[in-house]
Amino acid sequence: MASDLHDMGVAQLAAKLRDKEISAVEIAQHFLARMKAHASLGAFLATDETATLAQARAADARIGAGESTPLLGVPIAHKDIFATTDFPTTAGSKMLAGYRSPFDSTVTAKFADTGMVCLGKLNCDEFAMGSSNENSAFGAVRNPWDAQRIPGGSSGGSAAAVAARLTPAATGTDTGGSIRQPASFCGITGIKPTYGRASRYGMVAFASSLDQGGPMARSAEDCALLLSAMCGPDLYRDSTSLDVPAEDFSGQLNQGVAGLRIGIPKEFFGEGLAPDVRAAVDITLSQFEALGATLVPISLPRTELSIPVYYIIAPAEASSNLSRFDGVKFGHRAKDFTDLADMYKKTRAEGFGDEVKRRIMIGAYVLSHGYYDAYYLQAQKIRRMIADDFQQAFTQCDVIAGPVAPTVAWKLGEKSDDPVANYLADIFTLPASLAGLPGMSLPCGFGEGGMPVGLQLIGNYLQEGKLLNAAHQFQLNSDFHTRKPGGLA
């Protein structure tokens, strides 16, 4: 039995714990051993067996005392962008190597309060800037389906760890697709909720008007359990937290999809979409039709514009957010310098990687005198038009479906010298991010090289339940979410 423990999802493990068939300590030990055996994937940046087992023992004590909350004793690992007191927090940057946060993020604290056991911190692109996880200062993550390929990014460690069954659940954050794209590339399920649903308190800031945390797991059923625990107002800690009550998403999974109107944006199926991805997505959409859903042709006319708009707005916000890394209050400080300005410049030159520097430069430029209106303000205006396009589309459909990314996961190093090529590959995830809409990825087939393909579902604001239900209904009728990477022991 212990041999297939890691194949169990959150809901299954929770049930076994509730029935006292197994203890939280046994589960934690099993995953800790598995993490060690698969350390070559590079998914984890920090582990601490003592801390993990102490949390597992505490969960067992709560179970022993008769407590039975849905996630009690189930393991989770957190993207290393969430501040935690029990593990280091680096955001994948040399700037924060070894940094210990004096406080916990709201999201990780919520999971700890439910009794989830933290297995460690997961690798990611530096400050969540990237689509391949190759921008981590602590090394790339390998895709469990093919170790020569990237896992996607920026939540690449999260996706790889869940796909390789090193953890049943992980947190991710999504600024322009950083949950959905790695979920797609690693064949798992992930959801970015509506902007403002999950607290950003204690999430190392990249682009504050876009950053949003969400869960990554193998099934929509598991994501629903995790998202229910993760969301809810955090009115005193996060001024952008939505004042809407937490929801039980698990209770919204059994509604069938008969009559569901699925909008198909023609701009998501243009010539840039690889034929293998298109084939998997098309078959999935016809399966939704077979389940009773209706496909409705729609248009999101500014899909392509979302690339420059996003890559103006996100770097602008990043250049502002990352000004806090000055070598004074925390993080790296250069050893040799002549004066204060020199200390700042050398500290930041040494602490930040190439992609982060590029984005700071772009951001500082588009915010500078004489360029603000032409770039930043113009981008914000088109951002409004993109959000309006979605509202127009949602008058014709209940959810929107399409590919997550134009291709399957590419080879390590293939695009690492070409930042613009990476930006272009974000085309299908950026529009929903700019609008602040919920979006998810669910495994829907395989493409070139046997690599997983994800279907993206986008919902209107606060419609996460509708997305998770549609995904769950598909997963009741398919087994892509249960497939495991071949060759992985």
């Binding site: 514009l305 113009q378 088109i382 409004r384 930042p419 604001y461």
Partner: protein, 106 residues
């Protein structure tokens, strides 16, 4: 409109980033490559469009009451305990509870 190497130097100074010569040259090429894809954005007619600085506004307009989507201000009351030691634990240089920086005023 292409950036020049003096633009790169100016922005790097604004951003407090020291760039090596080779790094500056690479940055120039890459940033100009990026601004090629930005051109299409500049051609869009946005007359009369209100900028969307933040999605909370869009969520409010679409589904929430105006009040629920307002950016909030909380009462100006100290709610956090003193965390000086915890907060300074990761500081590069601290003395007697103060952050140390290079001399600024002679």
């Amino acid at each position: 409109m292409a950036l020049t190497s003096s633009d790169i130097d100016r922005i790097a100074n604004l951003a407090r980033l020291q760039l090596q010569a080779a790094e500056s040259a690479r940055m120039l090429t890459q940033i100009n490559g990026f601004f090629d894809i930005v051109e299409q954005m500049r051609a869009v007619d946005t007359t009369g469009i209100e900028p969307l600085a933040h999605p909370v506004m869009a969520v409010r307009d679409a589904v929430l009451s105006a009040q629920a989507g307002e950016l909030r201000l909380r009462a100006d009351i100290a709610s956090e305990p003193n965390q000086r030691e915890a907060n300074q634990r990761s500081a590069p240089s601290v003395e007697r509870g103060l952050f140390l920086v290079p001399k600024v005023i002679e």
